[in-house]
């Protein structure tokens, strides 16, 4: 992903020179924030190098500005802004726009911010249908539905880059803590950071013979593997007929250990790192990859949502006319 990055402007505070950092979170599950904590001991080394000016996890929140202006949120100015979560409400959009103006380098952290993430599966429905379903389940009593006096929902879930242009995007659901730490270290030394444009298969140790053994089947049973034996002795999921999104998914989920995490648990990839390169369409790439080993992708149930599970923004998933 192209971005221009100059050495972070630093400012002097308490006798130290540190870049200022501001963090905002939108429609998230909090997994990205926990992933930051999961950096572990290395985090203790990084934190003293950063001067947080706005981060609910660390310090005072100053959304409402110095005088608490009643009509407008004020987003902090900083050298680095970080956004987690997709843009779901009017308030999220407002904050994203202001943050872009007020920070020098804008980072999107995690699939929701980068591509819409799981909540963007909701882009296959209208906002009205969603509110209708949520507030009409069989245990829900009829009442006046939200929102009243709280932020309204946008028509769909937007990735942050559909609203403003980020400088650095860190994919993953959630991102591997190694990748987050590497990105921060690179930025601190004024270097660009991005993951390689390779697929999950490039880091997957399973055995491939470029030919499927059986037709596609749903993952309703475990793949064949020998417990205790190295992964390299297991045959590729797709070649065992178990749909795996590895061929069209960017690698990096394994962090420094490389081995894709789901595969290490004998589960096929579901695409949480997103497309291998900007603009790629995993659905098209997957159809090609499957047919090249003799599989018929048309057999796949719920194909559209499956191949776009984490990337429903950017018009990859949209409301389809009723049949």
């Amino acid at each position: 992903m192209p971005y221009a990055l100059t050495r972070l402007t630093t400012r002097r505070m308490w006798g130290k020179t540190m870049p200022t950092v501001s963090i905002e979170n939108f429609a998230v599950c909090t997994g990205c924030e926990v992933a930051v904590l999961d950096i572990g001991e290395a985090l203790l080394g990084l934190l003293p190098k950063l001067d947080f000016v706005h981060a609910q996890v660390l310090m005072d929140n100053k959304w409402w500005g110095p005088k608490g202006d009643k009509d407008k949120l004020e987003v902090a100015s900083a050298d680095v802004g970080i956004i987690t979560g997709g843009v779901r409400t009017e308030e999220d959009k407002h904050i994203a726009l202001d943050m872009r103006k007020n920070v020098k380098t804008l980072i999107t952290l995690g699939m929701c911010a980068v591509h819409g993430g799981i909540p963007a599966l909701g882009n296959m429905s209208t906002r009205e249908a969603m509110i209708g379903t949520v507030y009409s389940t069989h245990t829900t009593e009829k009442g006046q539905n939200p929102p009243q006096g709280i932020p309204g929902l946008l028509d769909r879930v937007y990735a942050v880059d559909e609203i403003v242009k980020p400088d650095v995007q860190i994919p993953g659901c959630p991102p591997n803590p190694d990748n987050i730490a590497d990105a921060v270290v690179a930025l601190l030394s004024g270097k660009p950071w991005s993951l390689t444009e390779k697929s999950v298969c490039d880091d997957c140790p399973t055995k491939r013979e470029k030919k499927a053994q059986v037709a596609l089947k749903r993952p309703l049973q475990n793949p064949d593997f020998k417990p205790g034996a190295p992964l390299a002795e297991m045959r590729c999921f797709n070649e065992q007929g178990i749909l795996c999104n590895g061929p069209a998914t960017k690698t990096g989920c394994g962090g420094h250990e490389k081995t894709p995490r789901c595969v290490a648990a004998f589960m096929p990839c579901r695409g949480c790192m997103g497309p291998i390169r900007a603009g790629a369409k995993p659905m098209v790439d997957m159809m090609g990859a499957l047919s090249s080993i003799g599989l018929d992708a048309k057999q796949i149930e719920d194909r559209m949502a499956h191949f776009n599970r984490y990337i429903g923004s950017h018009q990859n998933l949209r409301v389809l006319p009723k049949k």
């Binding site: 979170n25 997994g31 924030e33 100053k62 608490g68 719920d302």
Partner: protein
Amino acid sequence: MQKTIVIQPVTRIEGHAKVTIQLNDKGDVEDTKMSITTLRGFEEFCKGRPAEEMPRITTSICGVCPVSHHLAAAKAADAVFGVEIPPAGKKLRELLNAFAYTEEHMLHFFFLAAPDFLIGPGAPVKDRNIFGVIRAMPEVATKVAVTRTKANKAIEMIGGRAIHPVAATPGGFSKPLSAAEIETLKKTGKDILDLAQFTMKYAKENVFPKYMDAIKTLGVIKTGFMGTVDKDGAMDLYDGKIRLMKADGTHKDFPAADYDKHIKEHVEPWSYMKFPYNPEMGAFSLEPNAPGGMYRTNTLARVNVAEKIRTPLAQAELVEFRKAFGRPAQQTLLYHYARLIEMLYNAEYLNQLLDDPEIRSTDIRKPVTPRAARGVGSVEAPRGTLLHDYETDEKGLIKYVNLIVGTTHNNGPMNMSVKQAARSLIKGGVYDESILNMIEMTIRPYDPCLSCATHNLDGSLAVQVDIRGAKGELLDSYRN
């Protein structure tokens, strides 16, 4: 004198909430509301997905308790496919759950709640956070950080990923444990048990006695409680029957699949989060002096509804707790105490599971066949009884989903605790920042994870208070 006070965001909770306090013309509290300000709509967009994918989709409801959603979804999918999972598969799921519980209870006690107690509710804002804890007691903080990292690695080893695990599947579990992995997990298990014992002792000596007055008064409300128990009435976090206890201590049990006979969800337009309640406990009312239908979940609720705990150290703590506070204990701040009892239980239990020869079995997953059916899966998430209810068509694709998650059960009670605290603390329009902090301290014990109800992680005690005149004009503004 009429004023509206807005506390936004409520902090050091896992999510975005906003508290509005309305003062009447005498400056006393007229009304309060705690609102949740976003919605993601899983019940809509899970429709059409294959049931076997649900354990991998619904984890994203919450990055703080993904293991709970993962397991509830796997259990609901087991029921939909009509499969009885192998015993070793169940034990692996329970092992994953027990490690996750210890990790989460550590996170909440030390990172989110402890600053109020270890540093003090009136301490300077710059110290009233995890960094203050690190400065004040570096050795404890290091012990916690190191153990938490090990717990995370254990969760990843068992479930595939620490956040959004993948190994629980309809029919069982995908990944058997090797002998080497079990040895590593045992080492971590011992460290976790050490930390759980240390924390309990430390809190009983240094924390709880200091705040006994606050425990007795702050945010205290009277409600029923809900939690899961096994056939003998012992605390069970993975499976069992749901027990609903009235404020007077009487209780009844029902299977999870009958949840909809006992729980209704009320809707208010000022919050995206629904308000579950039990109609048998009265018509819906958030009035602290006359609550209707209100029950609570999470640590205190589980400790209250259980007859006993199956592990010896935690059982001894339960006996001591019950002697001091009765059953059911109603004081909201006791959630923290109950959380440490549960941390100890899970620490003991995971070590028991690791010593069980069956945990090494490779017979862990049965194949399943799609069919049209309905299935309810329930576990105790750290924040309360978690219910996933799915209905599938003949291809096994999801037709209907109903989710009731831990934190939402406490939506009504949290609103009541806020109201109780605001009424007792704000009189004649007089209040300051520390009073607003005290009001937030009545929300924090519930450890609300509003990601589950939809949203994200906050950390420090950031409070913004706008004071407005009757026409909404801004009169004054405070921030800490």
